[in-house]
Symmetry: C2
Subunit: 217 residues, 2 copies
Amino acid sequence: MDLYFSPLACSMATRIVFYEAGAEARFIEVDTHTQRTSDGVDFRAVNPLGMVPVLRTDEGALIRENVAVLQYVADAYPDAGLAPRGRLERARLQQWIAFTNTELHKAAFVPLLDPKAPEGAKAYALEKSARPLAVLDEHLRDREFLLDAFSVADAYLATILNWTVAAPVPLAQWPAVSAYLARMRARPATARAMAEETPLYLREQARRKAEARQLPV
Amino acid sequence: MDLYFSPLACSMATRIVFYEAGAEARFIEVDTHTQRTSDGVDFRAVNPLGMVPVLRTDEGALIRENVAVLQYVADAYPDAGLAPRGRLERARLQQWIAFTNTELHKAAFVPLLDPKAPEGAKAYALEKSARPLAVLDEHLRDREFLLDAFSVADAYLATILNWTVAAPVPLAQWPAVSAYLARMRARPATARAMAEETPLYLREQARRKAEARQLPV
């Protein structure tokens, strides 16, 4: 499978899932500002929304949205047990992926991390993130993972919580969430994904800075 | 099954799914302002996030988030064919539910419909909704449904697009989306759900207005 990703973006969740499954994939880097991919293609032809992740299956089908991509990859490696198969447990998995997707990723972090978002949008996002983070803290108080065992929902949540440093969201207010993030980061698959994507992120930032200097003011 | 809902909120998607399946459920109304349910319970005990929908399964388990609830109900009535079962087609279903959930529902309509959201948040939301709506318009140009046949993703998308009148989002710019919404509203299950929830919505609004008048200024 091919995974279109941007360094340290939400697409890192799927990279973590591949590594947790002991599987490999072809990773194609996307600069979401220029919409160019590392193999020289206009990314909008792959995803008109211009967003990562996009997965290309072995049959050539394109799938986007973390909710879909994470479960598709988990189900491709059932022996790794990264997505429960029972109806109720699968619903719970989807519930936590959706929670991360909407309350944290979309409602909070997109405006907080967007340099073009107006102050009103950032203040609103920060205010709206407090309740979901409190609910998450309560849920994680006596749990190691979102469900009974590590799942793709944890790979996604850890990837998003990772952004609290840059946003910045004062995670220390939610000690169970902070401790959870530290635990997830210590897992070999997450550590490997971060070690691989961090230099790519720094290179991307340096390239963007250099390009900005060359633009007429 | 029991469905906790608020009139004309995103929970209407699940009511539509029950009706499309020819099934019934117990519908429990929630006032999300007061967090009281029509059976006299504090809704935060049901969902600490205070949001509908919440589904109580026949076994008494609580499931929240549309992504999870819609698929759970569809899979409870497999003969109705409201959620494809093949791996790739299920991924596509999840992709469109997630798109509706994040790009439209959470990123656009929550700030646009929230009287407490600052102007900056509303302007940002409206600006960010243009690209997803254009992508959706392109997708629906020669299609009757999001997938090959009617699915729970359509029940959800129609419910959310219904809010464009109140938001207001000028849907006429996207003629394929406008025509799709008209088609979905004409389906008997959607028409029945709207006919049942509209008077409840008007009653809720009247009650809130009356309560606001009684508050000290």
